[in-house]
């Protein structure tokens, strides 16, 4: 929990992020530094910046698989599916049959509507040794695309494989991408339970609630975003629009029906 790092407690002074190296070494910008930056940006929903950070990490060390996987994931989240598929394929030429890269390729294929190739790549990813959340996330998404009813089982399996709230948040994002706000809302709620101070999660939760027509809950979530990040432009605009709508006659009428 980085926010507790600066607490003045009894005992030795807190170590920095680089395993207790001298303070001067904190300026060392190696691949681990960029990976941490990328992760931080990703947790705030800044996928474009995270992608750049992953690229910087790879410039320092091409052997960091997490950066390759992160690049593919960011390209998918940014909606650049052909590029994500191409990049996953390129990375797979170096890291043969890496399960997360295969899963990334499957996800890109799935978003492009090529179900057959997507299922093939996903099957291959799941057949590789090891256990990672991402391949189950992708499996769940493909189940969702194929309108199979076991998508929830796959997402739960992913959440069990990695209890990080980011997994729940990114499941929520993909569910929102497939216009399933009712399924996405519990995912964002679970992520918020783990990380209640993230404006990004509250904003996404507000999006879900708005899609479901839960006006009061949306306003509450947006206010929470503004508490956590005062001046958050998107939240401010959404809250203003919501207030204006509720002031109108139509809004009042809809309010009678819970909208």
């Amino acid at each position: 929990m980085p926010r507790f790092d600066r607490l003045e407690l009894d005992g030795p002074p807190p170590e920095d992020d680089f395993g207790g190296k001298p303070a001067a070494a904190a300026d060392v910008r190696d691949e681990q530094h960029w990976l941490k930056q990328a992760d931080r940006e990703r947790r705030q929903g800044h996928h474009e910046t995270a992608l750049r950070m992953y690229s910087r990490a790879l410039e320092d060390n091409k052997a960091v698989i997490a950066a390759w996987v992160g690049q593919v994931q960011m390209l998918v989240l940014l909606g650049e599916y052909p590029e994500a598929e191409l990049w996953a394929r390129k990375a797979l030429e170096v890291f043969k049959n890496h399960p997360d890269l295969l899963a990334g390729r499957a996800q890109a294929f799935g978003r492009l509507g090529d179900k057959r190739q997507a299922m093939g790549a996903c099957d291959q990813a799941l057949s590789q040794p090891g256990e990672s959340a991402y391949r189950w996330v992708v499996r769940g998404e493909l189940m969702l695309i194929n309108k199979e009813s076991i998508d929830r089982h796959c997402f739960d399996k992913a959440a069990a494989a990695d209890p990080d709230w980011l997994v729940q948040a990114e499941i929520g994002l993909l569910l929102m991408h497939h216009k399933q706000p009712a399924k996405a809302l519990p995912r964002f709620r679970a992520a918020i339970e783990a990380e209640p101070e993230s404006p990004f999660l509250w904003m996404k939760r507000a999006d879900c609630e708005r899609a479901l027509g839960l006006a009061d809950a949306t306003a509450e979530s947006l206010r929470r975003v503004l508490d956590l990040a005062p001046g958050h432009p998107e939240a401010k605009m959404a809250l203003d629009a919501q207030t204006a709508r509720r002031g109108s006659l139509l809004g009042k009428l809809l309010g009678l029906f819970g909208h």
Partner: protein
């Protein structure tokens, strides 16, 4: 040297992982680390285009698989057998098979009631409505049986679509068509003794009488074409102002019969005709019905009182008029039953 991909410990000095083949010499690897980026504009359009292209390919592939028999089962593992589909043709039977015995019998009873009503009200709007209700009952009972049998979601939807197609193709299109060939309703549009406006009469197109089979006094349905309604007569264009179509009348004389009007009574071969005009000219006249034609009474929709274009014929009888004759090959059927009103339902002789 541990592989970064599969964590396998390789022999020092190896160029690639012995298990997964990943290179172990990343310092010598010449590969770009910045991914390609999509153009800023039109990204959504491009993705949508590619998605639809892939969906199209998928559809073509699925079509090929269907033709080569490699397709996934249409209903998953729960393919309803052919016998089940055949039972679907009988309303309520599939419901009884899946255990809903009372509901099955109730559906059958309801359907039979609706079918009887459809026959009784054939040719009316109510009849069409009742046929629609019968179809709804039949279809929903079949669909319920699929659901009770355990078909879920997409498979249920597919089965429902197939069931609707089956019922429409096997029962609800051919049966009414055949029924209409056997029995066709006519609605009388204006009072025409002994019938009244709104009466529904039945005739049978499938059993139309052959030339010479019609007896005097029988009611026939005949068809007029443009050829019949526009013809040359005595060097002049003789136009009868009426539309081609089906008409109903009563046969008074057969080919070769002598029809005679003596100023008071219309006789056929010396016997008083079954139909007598309300009024007629004082002048006597007679005619012999030509071969291949019938001598008929005035038609249903075009009596003198209502048709201003035939006032020249008043007070009502011109035995030579082409309006009094109909070709035998134009006869489309014999009226045999008066269906409505139901209280007066009886055979027409």
């Amino acid at each position: 040297m541990q592989c970064v991909s599969c964590q396998f410990f390789n022999v020092p000095g190896s160029a690639a992982c012995g298990r997964c083949g990943t290179t172990l010499r990343f310092d010598q690897l010449d590969i770009a680390t910045t991914p390609p980026r999509a153009p800023k504009h039109g990204r959504w359009l491009r993705n949508a285009g590619l998605t639809w292209l892939n969906r199209g390919r998928e559809a073509v592939r699925s079509g090929r698989e269907v033709t080569t028999g490699e397709a996934r089962p249409f209903f998953g593992d729960d393919v309803p057998p052919l016998s089940e589909w055949l039972r679907m043709l009988v309303p309520g039977w599939p419901l009884r098979r899946v255990g809903a015995v009372t509901a099955g019998w109730a559906v059958l009873a309801g359907w039979l009631l609706l079918a009887a009503l459809a026959v009784l009200y054939v040719g009316t709007q109510l009849g069409g409505l009742v046929v629609g209700l019968a179809f709804s009952l039949h279809y929903s009972a079949g669909l319920s049986s699929f659901r009770l049998a355990g078909l879920q979601r997409l498979h249920l939807f597919r089965a429902g679509a197939l069931l609707a197609l089956l019922l429409v193709v096997v029962i609800y299109i051919p049966v009414p068509l055949l029924f209409n060939q056997a029995v066709q309703p006519i609605t009388v549009r204006q009072d025409f003794a002994p019938f009244k406006e709104g009466d529904v009469l039945l005739y049978s197109p499938a059993f139309a009488p052959r030339p010479g089979e019609v007896r005097p006094g029988q009611w026939i349905v005949f068809e007029l074409t443009w050829e019949d309604t526009n013809r040359l007569r005595s060097g002049y264009q003789f136009n009868v102002i009426m539309q081609p179509g089906l008409y109903m009348s009563r046969v008074l004389g057969r080919p070769g019969d002598l029809v005679r009007w003596d100023g008071e009574t219309l006789t056929v071969n010396g016997e008083p005709s079954v139909w007598q005009p309300a009024a007629g000219p004082k002048k006597a006249q007679s005619t012999t019905v030509p071969d291949g034609q019938y001598f008929i009474a005035p038609w249903t929709q075009y009596q003198y009182e209502n048709n201003p274009y035939q006032r020249g014929e008043r007070p009502g009888l011109n035995l030579e008029s082409p309006l009094r004759h109909v070709a035998a090959d134009r006869v489309r059927g014999r009226v045999f039953y008066k269906l409505h009103p139901l209280a007066e339902s009886s055979r027409v002789r």
